[in-house]
Symmetry: C2
């Protein structure tokens, strides 16, 4: 092991208030991660609410500390605007801990928009990246296929789709160990010239990007895993993520009741869990880093329970240990310089 | 029974060459439909190829005749352009049979774009509709939810999304028997103001449309069936259809192998068939009419086998018997006149 890495613990700041089940599940998940991965956790939010949850998690959580966030993003507020107006809200404060060198990464299960704004404002984005990116392996069925953007970038310019592809390639190489990942553009047909204006232009740019671009892919190519990196606008990615999650939940429920009297309970439970995992992005992803940020800021799915929160920690630790932001910066610069040469 | 309707047989023209499995499966499906529904079928395409398939279908198919199409849309051609240049291609010729009063409807499993162009050119569209619409019940899981557009309209203007909604409402009322169908706009969040420019503007127009608009719905609301009519751009609808189909096929395969040694073969087969039906739009839809056309022109999924072709016949017969084009014309005029009054 690298002794440098072991010199001090990895420190991760968590927006304890974010998500549908924060603080109870965000705190529980953070405690799980602190115990399992030996990291230091900084829980940011309403101190009394957090400490109440911590006291329910038993003893032995010395590596967790609490930072009070005195501002709160209210239910009716547009989260992305609120985070600008409230630098002492939990998500903004947790992100500033990274900026100030007090934490190595930040995790939030709250609004993706708010996390994006906080990350862009306090950490900044990498060269050529206007907005941070959300993505990752999409389905248990096709674990070697990364889909992005999953909701952070709604209404991309065609050249941004190329930067998304670069991000996906670095992801697939670093997290999935694929040397030369194939890249596909999600579209309504496989032929060149298909789709809306965004897709038509992105196709041309991807073709001359120097990436391992295999052309358009269609909806079915996601479960079939026909490319390692599948690029789409965040508007579509977000709908696909939520669609898959809803399908996974309803199919699991149907299958459980269908098998209930035919197989033993534990077998039914096991099959239900597996099928949900195969179909549900949230389960597979457990959250992931917002890519394109000059630092590590990760989102967990809004409906995350403790296990998904802990899963996000796992990804964040990998990101920190492999210097992902640095690696991505280099790749972006390479593709962008290639693009500039073609344009000259 | 209405004796008027029984006076003469319904006549349906079929583009026998269209689809991944035409002519073999288009011919077989047409023969099934002719026998089951007592309709007259006109198979349009390469006479010798069609007659070869017909001879394999056994005797007793007197209600089927063949019309030779001397032009062929080649593999490399852009289908929508090719159909303009080749009025004697199978899809164009079959559509002209409707225009000329020789058939009551046309069915094609070929390119959606080609069918759209042929329908728009030879039959025309209803007032305010620029391009025909593809849609229908989307999932077996939510049989009372219609999603549209499913690929015919890529890159909609916001006001076209309202016309899509009207089409969906008429569909749900006529085919599903829902008196006052709820309408949702597929988006990345439930709040007003979410999404891309198209979605933001469509939201405002839908709100003042006089339809039973319940606001934005998200991806998960499709399997949950949270609205009777879910409107989206054809770019997204097409990706969702194909994604669902791919998921249905891969999940069915996984589940079959998972259950194989645990349950009797026929039970496994039955569960596999059911889960595919619950998840796969193609299975549920079996194709459907292109809406907004001044007449009945239906598409079947490109991968249709004989059963799906026959399923499309069933929908087409309902459309003919209930004078759908006339009903839709009235509804479109009502909403459009409402819109004009607000704009004045």
């Amino acid at each position: 092991m690298d002794t440098n890495k072991q010199r001090r613990k990895i420190r991760i700041a968590v927006d304890a208030m974010g998500g549908d089940y924060g603080p109870p599940e965000t705190v529980k998940g953070s405690v799980m991660a602190a115990r399992e991965y030996g990291v230091e956790v900084i829980l940011v939010g309403d101190r009394s609410a957090i400490e109440k949850e911590l006291s329910g998690c038993g003893a032995g959580v010395q590596s967790i500390r609490v930072v009070e966030a005195v501002q709160k993003i209210e239910d009716g507020e547009e989260p992305a605007f609120a985070v600008m107006k409230k630098p002492n809200s939990s998500v903004a404060l947790a992100t500033r801990l990274v900026k100030d060198g007090e934490a190595d990464a930040v995790i939030s299960a709250g609004s993706t928009g708010a996390m994006m704004v906080a990350a862009a404002r306090y950490l900044g984005t990498l060269p050529g990246i206007e907005r941070p990116v959300a993505g990752g392996p999409f389905l248990g069925l096709s674990p070697n296929t990364v889909v992005l953007d999953l909701g952070a970038n709604v209404g991309c310019q065609p050249y941004q789709m190329v930067d998304l592809a670069v991000v996906g390639v670095v992801y697939a190489r670093t997290f999935l160990g694929i040397e030369n990942p194939t890249v596909g553009l999600l579209n309504v047909g496989s032929e060149e010239g298909k789709g809306n204006e965004q897709a038509k232009e992105a196709y041309l740019l991807l073709k001359q990007s120097g990436l391992n671009f295999i052309g358009n892919v269609e909806g079915m190519d996601i479960p079939f895993g026909r490319a390692n990196v599948i690029v789409c606008d965040g508007f579509i990615g977000n709908i696909l993520v939520k669609y898959s999650e809803g399908l996974g939940r309803t199919i699991r429920k149907w299958l459980t009741s269908e098998l209930n009297e035919k197989l033993p309970d534990d077998m039914v439970e096991n099959i239900g869990r597996q099928i949900y995992r195969l179909m549900s992005p949230a389960e597979v992803m457990g959250g992931g880093p917002l890519w394109g940020v000059n630092g590590i800021a990760a989102i967990a799915h809004g409906g995350s329970r403790a296990e998904q929160i802990a899963g996000t920690f796992r990804q964040v630790i990998t990101a920190i240990e492999s210097d992902l932001a640095g690696t991505l910066r280099k790749e972006l610069e390479r593709v962008q310089s290639n693009r500039n040469q073609i344009n000259q």
